[in-house]
Symmetry: C2
Subunit: 653 residues, 2 copies
């Protein structure tokens, strides 16, 4: 299969390709729906436009500057000048942060034509290029000087993981700018991987899936089918005990059960999700319905039993992993930001393959409650873990220090393991690629944000719409038709599962819009307006009784946003632990907060044995008062704070 040695040695073999007409992170060869990319979808302001702007002007430079400061960038220089060794700074996976930043910068050039992003790409690419070995191997932690040899620790070494991220960056570059040095670096690295681990090479896999994702998409972008085959090889080898056992067990890196046989996601969440995203890619490109069905089955059970109300995934700190079914503790919810990003990657791929709006519903939930939660308002500090309950405020923010820990209750400028900032950056920069799709019959809009969507339907028939909305603050979404062919086509809009009672106005006619996808097929005229009204008023949400950790509690949601109470809005953080809300009094919007009726028992002062024959109801349960709730994604933005999403509900007879 991999007779590409000669080809790999030809510099510039990928140089014939120009940029994609519509760059997007995911371009399946088949599927129910075709994704629209950054050329066809423009986001203009609003909730997400503001965050994209902060990402562009602050986060990208912040990441580059921190990686310079902590030495992860100069690791490449050290390889180049032969001074590297086993004591280089950073973890084995720190190279991947540079590649994720590169990927983010590439999408940013397509989003905003930013000269600063283009310049940064040039700077970073030059340093990386010099560190690549003549045979395509590129890694700053292995294989140079006194470092351990290449691929000597496949369980923990992350070499192929790093390469996968390099390929994703190269894909972004190829699609947004066309073939250049970065693309060529990627091509040489991909060839090296195929030679080394191909059908006639070493039958091994990497402890952290990611190479599979990079290979498929780079293969799609280059039209290089062998890369997709190589990804499939890696997938097929996994789950057979190919890696050595570790104390956390082979489930940690999904080498316990073949992906086709697994029933649910388990082990390290990001690993499980990257692997599944790649599996969907391979299944779609190879027409492998069994593989696709396996991932759908795993998605469904995991979303039903191992996912937090925020869309967050990962219940355990120990292994950054999924818990057992129904093990969903709000206080120790890990919900790594990267797992949120990865969940969106899987769901988007499944949605493109199936058109099932449960996937786009989960994407929306995860965007508003994980992706939007992690960064600070100024884009220079981040949550790594996203718990649903913080009993006491975290420490004051310190923007000058590397946080050694994923958990803190305070957003940190940088982490010892700093995977999340660059993952956020690439997601925000490429967000337009997850908004809309088309098929032969029309246009589908899945996420609501102000902007424009253009698409050319078969027969070169151009459609353009402008979306006007203040969503999610307001539930009204207007779609203005600004260009349309003569022939009829269908405009489809997603109605989220929570939006019972939504309605649609077309041409002055009101009709109910059931959750799912609502389509309007007609002969459109320029100036036509479709108005979708989603009921974003606050609502109570109850957990499945099998989720033991939140028994007797209720949450409040508002549109796609999960709300929380912050201890900053209470007299003392400890009152978070003695509060109860009255679910018979419906929450109401009041100014920029939602108010619930709650009471707070006085905080007991003693330190006695906490298990007693009394039913534990304090004599003084406090007076009823209105308490403000705010979007979870905004918590601790006003400063360190306690917080809880799940609110103990008073018992009524």
């Amino acid at each position: 299969m991999t007779d590409g040695t000669t080809q790999a040695d030809l510099p510039g073999a990928a140089g014939r390709r120009g940029p994609s007409a519509d760059p997007a992170p995911v371009r399946p060869s088949h599927g129910v729906l075709r994704p629209l990319g950054l050329a066809q979808v423009r986001i203009d302001g609003g909730f997400w436009g503001a965050r994209q702007q902060v990402n562009a002007v602050a986060t990208l430079a912040h990441c580059e500057s921190w990686m310079e400061r902590v030495g992860w960038l100069s690791n490449f220089d050290r390889v180049t000048d032969g001074t590297t060794g086993p004591d280089r700074p950073g973890w084995p996976f720190s190279d991947s942060e540079v590649y994720k930043l590169l990927e983010a910068l590439c999408w940013e050039t397509a989003r905003s034509a930013s000269p600063a992003a283009e310049a940064a790409i040039g700077r970073l690419t030059a340093r990386i290029a010099r560190a690549q070995d003549p045979d395509g191997y590129l890694n700053t932690c292995y294989g140079h000087g006194d470092q351990p040899p290449r691929y000597s620790d496949l369980e923990g070494g992350h070499e192929l993981y790093n390469t996968g991220h390099l390929l994703q960056a190269a894909t972004a570059r190829l699609r947004t700018r066309g073939a250049d040095e970065l693309v060529e670096i990627g091509r040489r690295a991909a060839e090296h991987v195929c030679r080394t681990f191909g059908a006639h090479g070493r039958a091994a896999i990497c402890g952290h899936p990611e190479i599979e994702l990079g290979l498929v998409e780079f293969g799609r972008a280059l039209g290089e089918d062998r890369y997709v085959d190589q990804a499939r090889l890696f997938l097929d080898r996994r789950g057979h005990g190919t890696l050595r056992d570790i104390p956390l067990g082979r489930g940690y890196f999904q080498d316990d059960v073949p992906i086709r046989q697994a029933e649910v996601w388990r082990g390290h969440a990001v690993r499980a999700l990257y692997l599944s995203a790649a599996a969907v890619d391979v299944a779609v490109d190879r027409g492998d319905d069994g593989l696709l069905a396996a991932v759908r089955r795993q998605w469904r059970r995991t979303v039903a039993r191992r996912t937090f109300i925020t869309g967050g995934m990962g219940s355990r700190h120990q292994d950054e992993g999924f818990g057992d079914d129904w093990e969903l503790p709000p206080d120790r919810a890990y919900c790594e930001t990267c797992a949120g990003v990865a969940s969106i990657m899987v769901s988007w791929r499944l949605f493109l393959a199936t058109g099932d709006t449960r996937h786009t519903d989960l994407i929306e939930r995860t965007l508003y409650n994980v992706v939007a939660t992690s960064p600070s308002g100024d884009g220079t500090a981040f949550f790594y873990a996203n718990p649903l309950h913080q009993r006491l405020p975290g420490p004051p923010a310190d923007g000058t220090q590397v946080s050694p820990r994923a958990e803190a209750g305070t957003r940190a400028a940088w982490f010892d393991v700093s995977c999340c900032p660059t993952n956020l950056a690439r997601t925000l920069a490429s967000l337009a690629g997850y908004v809309a799709t088309s098929d032969d019959d029309g246009l589908q809009i899945h996420q609501y944000l102000p902007g424009t969507v253009r698409v050319t339907l078969p027969g070169d028939q151009r459609v353009a719409v402008r979306v006007v909305t203040d969503y999610p603050a307001d539930g009204t979404v207007e779609v203005h038709v600004t260009a349309t062919p003569e022939r009829p086509w269908t405009l489809s809009l997603r109605v989220p599962a929570w939006a019972g009672g939504a309605w649609l106005v077309v041409d002055g006619q009101v009709r109910p819009a059931e959750p799912g996808q609502v389509g309007v097929r007609r002969r459109w005229r320029t100036g036509d307006v479709v108005r979708l009204a989603l009921p974003v008023g606050p609502r109570l949400t109850w957990p499945d009784p099998r989720i033991d950790a939140v028994r007797g509690c209720v949450a409040v949601e508002r549109g796609p946003e999960v709300l929380c109470v912050e201890s900053r809005d209470l007299a003392a953080p400890q009152l978070l632990s003695t509060m109860e809300v009255d679910p018979a009094v419906l929450p109401v919007q009041a100014g920029d907060a939602v108010h619930v009726r709650a009471r707070f028992a006085p905080v007991p002062s003693g330190d006695d044995w906490p298990y007693t024959s009394a039913a534990g109801e304090p004599a003084d349960r406090g007076d009823w008062a209105d308490v403000p709730l705010r979007p979870y994604h905004s918590w601790a933005r006003r400063g360190p704070s306690g917080m809880r999403i799940w609110l103990p509900a008073v018992r009524r007879g």
Copy 2:
């Protein structure tokens, strides 16, 4: 202080000492109460006598045989013959397992005069002796061949931790048999520690407290005050960032805050508890009331806010550590068996210092619900972690394999990190040392088990009693006076905090016995019987409402035993997740089980989003039925099973 170099080089310097008249693990120089040891307290059968017997005939040999099999014993031979290296089997702390086994064997010789135990002591001591360096250093992981140098990784190397356990073994040997080769090995090791880390030596500490415990007790046993001073030095150095920071933070090894200033236990539970036990020892021996008060404060707050109903400590798997206040998840409760052992060590020392029965109450709770839970009935398999909720049965037991993990839901024969079996073994063998105390005025009994207690009061006045009881199956405890002086003395009995409504019969007279310590002072006659009746009928226990993870649940206790429901007694394990009990129907004893009224909703079959606008109450909540509960310590003894202690309680208006 440490001018002992010359002394250390004199072999046999400790050889003058014979055994203690009444060997016990803890012998404070001061205190409100004096502990009685294995010569004065005899346990004859019953709940604990049976477990001691299993320990003697099965567990001790089991531990020796596994340590031979996995190479932890031959690690000593490899040092002796110069063939060891950095790749020796076992973790850096595996030497300590050999020492803990030795300690257990020593107590066993005092308990049963077992020739097998004596022979094992000889075998093990001979192999250890040859591995000791001429200057007293003794470690199989550092300092020999190509191994890393001595004390090159104080954060993780566990060298002083190992030595601490060696000193505890040497103490047990000295007290039970008198000075011999093992005692001399210990003395040379202690001198080495004092020379290396004394006031004029390296101002360092070990990442895992334990050396402090070993030094104090060995110093007490030998009358060597410098060892107590060295322990105090280690204690005083801790909490100032003496160790390097690690990703888990310095709180992990209690180097974040000086022990005198800390408010609560935090970080790795066993570390925190060993450190605090040693702090009580030093405080008592040096009259350091401030230090004693600090540990009492930490005990009180930790017991009130960070302790499970079982007495188990440690909420987190990630660091085997304490959680935040009120973070007590039953499913992820770590409750390491060793933390239970260590908690008893702290509580016993605090009790001897203060006479506060809250400490002996916690000891009882921990004995019945952690220490008794870990071993299998035949003493050859063990729980490492002791969760309070297991949703699905663990895998079948496999007595031939080393378990790589602390968590499984099934007792394992041996662990990759196998600290718990030997810790159990030494605790069970020395259990008589935690049962009774004396003061100038009489005798106090704290734990109820069939056996005899003898003590000589001042003036050579001999007291002896026989305890007759089937506790905890039955709540009646009879104390028969079998020897008494003429003058009056006080017999005191602990009434557990849960035992409201207890009564005492003395000489035919019935009187109420309030929780705490009930004393009877009189002129006794041989043949007098005191009968204490403790109400051990099943009772409902409710959690503090701040313990979020068990909101809306109730537990059932019976005497000192926490009860649980096992899925083996249900139609399907999943029913554990849909059950609710009716707390208005009081639990009743029925045969060998306690029955509660419970109903089980059918297990839902769908895999839908689990957070809905419905209050989550299933339409079909099942029919009421009686369900058996059994002691938590017996769970999974009949085979793998799901289990839960905290039972969802039906809401009633």
